[in-house]
């Protein structure tokens, strides 16, 4: 038993490597932050493309739906491996884009960011869609009857309401995005799981993995509580029901 304990919960070992693992964990947070901004934007674009009305946009809608379905279906690990293994060899792409070293970050960082953005764009698009579809149809009708174009109606009427309906499911997506940043370790980017495994390899001690897990828990638990609060607040709103006759 004590052997097991030492293998995973060697606090001295954790103390020795605390800063090293923390620094690697900050790389996870960095990937998370960059991808969150990109994926939330990309997802909104996808959701809006999917909502384009009329016959002439059938091809756009079809392609968008195909994209969303595909990237929700393919395991993220495969997307990461395909991008990091494929993009560098596409010689028609300029070298700075093919093998990016922007902002002092190595190319695996950017391959990871790209892969996670492509996948999470698809997931967040579905969350946006749920929000957009939850806005009553009369809102679009009213906006259009005032002479607003579909785009103006989306921008000023539908999307502002849709985003207030989806913070809880969106935060759930972000939680899973944060955890999935560890997948970038497979293409040799030095984030927390890669560092922990390197430590394991050299010392045969797994405590760094537990420490890494601890960091994730510390960040994610509060996020989960926020989701709970949001859901509770929404439910209270629904329970209050048709409270239109206030004045």
């Amino acid at each position: 038993m004590s052997e097991f304990f030492h293998q995973y919960f060697d606090f001295n070992y954790m103390g020795e490597h605390f800063w090293e693992v923390l620094e690697a964990f900050l790389q996870n947070l960095l990937i998370f932050a960059v991808v969150a901004v990109l994926a939330l934007t990309w997802g909104l674009v996808l959701a809006l493309l999917r909502q384009l009305p009329g016959r002439k946009f059938v091809p756009v809608r079809f392609l968008t739906i195909a994209y969303i379905d595909l990237f929700r279906a393919i395991p993220i690990l495969i997307v990461i491996l395909l991008i990091s293994g494929g993009i560098p060899f596409l010689e028609f792409i300029p070298k700075d884009i093919r093998i990016p070293h922007w902002l002092g970050k190595p190319d695996p960082f950017w391959y990871g960011v790209a892969a996670l953005m492509l996948v999470y764009g698809a997931f967040t698009a579905e969350v946006y869609r749920a929000g957009i579809e939850a806005v009553p149809g009369g809102q679009m009708e009213a906006a259009r009857s005032l002479g607003m174009s579909h785009f103006a109606a989306m921008r000023h009427v539908i999307v502002p309401q849709a985003v207030t309906l989806i913070p809880a499911p969106m935060l759930n997506e972000l939680i899973s995005l944060l955890k999935d940043t560890t997948l970038v370790s497979v293409i040799a980017f030095s984030e927390s799981v890669l560092i922990s495994r390197e430590l394991l390899a050299e010392s045969f001690n797994s405590s760094a993995l537990i420490l890494t897990a601890f960091f994730f828990v510390v960040i994610i638990l509060p996020m989960a509580r926020v989701v709970d609060k949001m859901i509770a607040r929404n439910q209270a709103k629904i329970a209050r029901g048709s409270h239109i006759e206030v004045a």
């Binding site: 009305p53 009329g54 016959r55 002439k56 009553p136 009369g138 809102q139 009708e141 009213a142 906006a143 259009r144 009857s145 005032l146 002479g147 607003m148 174009s149 579909h150 103006a152 000023h156 009427v157 502002p160 309401q161 207030t164 409270h243 239109i244 006759e245 206030v246 004045a247």
Partner: protein, 254 residues
């Protein structure tokens, strides 16, 4: 002969295999108030939605101030074209469920379209919006959000919102049906004033008193066609058609 503001000729509208309008002809003169009655499912609301092309008809012609609005780019596809947005800027609509924008204050509801569609300055739109809300008796509610307003107040904001686009025609789709009885009058009064000022109005309603008092023409629809139309006294008091008599009998029994 006064100029026809809206002219509908042989309008057919289908939703899938369901034919909701089966050939409707209607002429509305400038400044005229036409009240449309009929049982639910008779096609009244769809007819209104044809006039501003929210539900473009599959067949027939619609003339707005002499212009055929079903022709031109994008017509019939049901989707965007300059034509549609241009049409809707001249045709205001008020809905049964108000459809106010809940994330905007009363004043912002009124100023949004003038700012975003007509490109009015914020200042200009606010001045006009304030005047319009004063006109519908809501000078003290400018900065309230819709959920803080009663149904009657919301509906009056919706009327002001439509008027802000300076429409030439107003469509009212059962605008008092979702209101508590004591709130109906304030909305009807607003509509009556609008009619007195010479607004051309198509009003789908179950308010017989309003139709009789304010309407210049009453149209009774059933089964996707106009069954009977004429002066209010004639249609409401001396209906010729058996279907009209039956409907009025049921409505007035209440």
């Amino acid at each position: 002969m006064p100029e026809a503001m809206v002219q509908l000729k042989g309008i057919h509208k289908r939703f899938g295999s369901l034919e909701v309008l089966k050939g409707v002809d209607l002429e509305v003169d400038k400044g005229e108030v036409v009240c449309i009655l009929g049982p639910s499912g008779s096609g009244k609301s769809t007819l209104l939605r044809c006039v501003n092309l929210l539900a473009p008809p599959e067949e027939g012609e619609i003339f707005l101030e002499g212009e055929d609005i079903c022709k031109g780019p994008g017509s019939g596809t049901g989707e965007q074209s300059w034509n549609l947005d241009y049409v809707r800027q001249r045709v205001g609509m008020v809905f049964q469920q108000f459809n106010l924008f809940p994330h905007k204050t009363a004043l912002e509801n009124v100023t949004m379209a003038p700012e975003k569609v007509l490109g009015r300055s914020k200042q200009e739109a606010r001045a006009k919006g304030t005047a319009l809300l004063e006109r519908v008796g809501l000078a003290d509610k400018l900065n309230q959000y819709p959920e803080r307003l009663s149904g009657g107040q919301q509906q009056r904001v919706a009327i002001a919102r439509a008027l802000a686009m300076e429409p030439h025609v107003m469509l009212f789709d059962e605008v008092t049906s979702a209101l508590d009885p004591e709130l109906v009058k304030e909305v009807l009064d607003t509509m009556r004033e609008l009619a007195e000022e010479g607004m051309t109005m198509l009003v789908v309603t179950h308010e017989m008193g309003f139709a009789k008092e304010v309407g210049d023409q009453v149209v009774f629809m059933d089964g996707g066609v106009i069954v009977e139309q004429g002066a209010p006294e004639q249609v409401l008091d001396h209906p010729r058609e058996e279907r009209t008599q039956r409907f009025l009998g049921l409505v007035l029994e209440r």
